[in-house]
Symmetry: C2
Subunit: 450 residues, 2 copies
């Protein structure tokens, strides 16, 4: 904990120097996140849903707080209490999204500058508390959003409620999502049971919904690039495009002992070569291509060539054109592979998801870059593209948005051993605070400049 | 049908010429299988179990007569009636194996020369009927064995009862086999229900069991070699060796969008390369290597690198040393593949089945070759090695044994469209008859030569 405080101190000193040599850098907020309290708060809220212990320390656990289960309802009520203690107003929309709003000194009616997060697994915060205890007033209203069902682990649609808010997911479809273990329970029935079905329309519409002035999100990287390059802040300027395809390779079942290679139509051999080829093709293009699922029919046996094989392909790159090219080259190469062995196989495919690349707002990115440069300097931060989907990908369609990444141990996420150090939690929260303050300040300056 | 008869006539003429020019050839039996009746009999018995129609003709069906179900009991009773009408004695052992025995003219007590088959899917015969109606007497006793549960489709152990007979499968284990759809039903309980639990020990022991003097088996090739090379009789001189291995490749689950290739431990990519490599290695050695099953954990998803992958490997070659070499080269190559991508994967493996190559009896093979040369000539027959397991593989351990293959359409077996033409059924049965007569004659000559 002391280390975290020290680093913040060092960072402020560093920033002071940086500020003196470059006009690009905004002055730091002079606010400092209380790392000890932040860490305590994180673990306090983790009592609702701690699971999957992996070490000796009682805090060495994973978290399994599923959307709108009893633990999630408890942490939502805790969140409501805490933000109200800070003097925030709280709004809840029809998807149970919670909007905590702290007034700015301008008493502007402009939509608030939001820090988005999701409590269904990890709580975050500390910024509003720090502002409050320092009596710090932003120009515009700022606040926190708790987006419902980001993970999609209980109700299988990730970024579900930011998707509704952005108009990308129909609300009825979201409400009708069933608990994966109990089809009698829907997302809507759980919203009602816990009293989180709000009146406000879940939309960015200024008339009927809850529009946002900006959206900043702090997240662990979920990858190894920051730890491996020794950086502590990722300035996320967009999200890579991705396409999910499912391939079915059709062969013919045959006895493995009596059928020479020349007479076979072996879909599993072909699929194996296709998977290996997609990896090589993605490497050549600096893209990613991954197969997570492969299936043979349930009656497959050791001594029978399979009838058919299904596998998924997930292609990603920050540029849509590269995603497209990798897909095209894969299809061409798969066609060649299909005729390579024995009597050949056939295949068909479906495009299940097509998520174009997203560019985040330049001003938001600039505010995060300013914060990162202040706190750790350019050599300890880097511009990045998010590999995964996040609520911010949806908010970016309706308000200026960007994200901050902090390192997580070994790049591991979605696993009980997912871990972000107290220092990086504090540093990330400090960066979030600085970015919001910088953005608020810039916006006020622009406004006054008109 | 006419064609089949014509062919038999041609064959006899051909044989006469062959005989006149080579002392190696035995005289033909002068018996001729009644192809029409054989075909009718095959379809008569198929009324018990016809299933999976694939064409317009009522006979365009598959067969699904599972071991010891009611249809199988009916065809067993039909078989018992028919062989008793022919004057055969019938014995049933503790595995329900049925031994039909026709006395030879020498009234020898030597174990009978058997034609083995299994009625659990296909009936066969015609040989004994043909001998009977021609008043033809072999020297030694000859007969038919109906081996119980050859297919292993209902009670999951193929060649189960010839295995017990050969001492390779403990009888209790065979009796305890459960119906794959109803664990309350065992092979023994079905033997009892239908009255086919005999008193004779299921063994080749001359004191307590039912020893055989020889074992000939007629079977479809289950592969494409005969049809593709335009041959009509395969003289099977042995069965290839095979090993079944199961590999588990251990990786680490990771987000496909956020984890660069360099940081991955992707077991599915590695398994794909291993499967492709095993195919290439087998080709280099003129062997077979096949993967029929691949599995990822049930929680696998499109955007997650799998935790681990399991796949089977089936390696075959007529020489055990080549099977061994292919396995060794695969293991070495798999080791290299495991460290090829990202942070590498680990793998372990088990040897589930090790079935050494089998060489059939030279005299039995010679008798089949003599029959084939007579019937179709050397250019229409060929020496072969069986790729699949058969009852004869077990009998060969305790009595002189060999097999005859006839072509099946497109090499397809274990499928409703499995089909052997009336001509090939008749020709195969004729070859079986000639081989048994030749073997019986040779044995008598040897005996008289002593």
């Amino acid at each position: 904990m002391m280390q975290s405080t020290k680093r913040a101190t060092r960072a402020l000193r560093f920033n002071a120097r940086a500020f003196s040599t470059s006009a690009h850098f905004a002055a730091p907020s002079s606010l400092s996140i209380n790392a000890d309290r932040l860490w305590e708060t994180l673990h306090e809220t983790c009592k609702w849903g701690a699971a999957h212990p992996y070490g000796d320390n009682p805090r060495d656990t994973g978290m399994a707080r599923l959307t709108l289960n009893d633990d999630d309802a408890r942490v939502r009520r805790w969140f409501a209490d805490e933000v109200q203690k800070l003097g925030c107003s709280l709004s809840v929309d029809q998807m149970g999204n919670m909007f905590a709003r702290q007034s700015g000194r301008l008493e502007s009616t402009a939509p608030m500058i939001a820090m988005g997060s999701h409590l269904d697994t990890q709580p975050r915060g500390g910024v509003l508390r720090t502002m409050k205890e320092n009596n710090f007033k932003t120009n515009f209203d700022v606040g926190i959003v708790n987006w419902t069902n980001e993970e999609g682990a209980r109700f299988p649609k990730s970024m579900c409620s930011s998707g509704v808010w952005a108009g990308a997911v129909p609300i009825q479809k979201a409400w009708d999502l069933c608990d994966i273990h109990d089809s009698n329970v829907t997302l809507r029935s759980e919203l009602e049971r816990h009293g989180f079905l709000g009146d406000i329309e879940c939309s960015s519409d200024p008339e009927t919904g809850y529009p946002l002035g900006a959206h900043f999100e702090l997240h662990i990287e979920q990858g190894p690039i920051l730890p491996e390059t020794g950086r502590s802040i990722g300035i996320v300027q967009g999200a890579q495009g991705y396409r999910w395809l499912t391939f079915t390779v059709h062969g013919k079942d045959a006895h493995t002992g009596t059928t020479p290679f020349s007479a076979r139509q072996d879909p599993l051999l072909a699929a194996s070569k296709m998977i290996a080829a997609s990896n090589a093709i993605a490497k050549q293009h600096g893209a990613l291509a991954s197969t997570g699922i492969i299936k043979v029919p349930s009656n497959a046996s050791t001594n029978t060539v399979a009838t058919n094989v299904t596998f998924t392909l997930d292609i990603r790159h920050p540029q849509d054109s590269v995603v497209h090219t990798v897909q095209e080259v894969c299809l061409r190469e798969f066609g060649a592979i299909a005729s390579e062995d024995g009597k050949g196989v056939s295949f068909d495919w479906t495009l299940d998801t097509d998520s174009p690349a997203v560019k985040f707002d330049q001003d938001c990115v600039a505010s995060i870059k300013a914060a990162a440069d202040c706190l750790v300097g350019p050599e300890k931060s880097m511009l990045m593209t998010s590999g995964a989907g996040h609520d911010t990908v949806y908010t970016s369609k309706h308000c200026p948005s960007a994200m901050i990444f902090v390192p997580c141990r070994d790049g591991v996420s979605h696993h009980p051993t997912e871990y972000c150090s107290p220092e990086d939690c504090a540093l990330g929260t400090q960066a979030l605070l600085e970015a919001v303050v910088h953005y608020d300040e810039s916006k006020a300056n622009k406004g006054s400049g008109v």
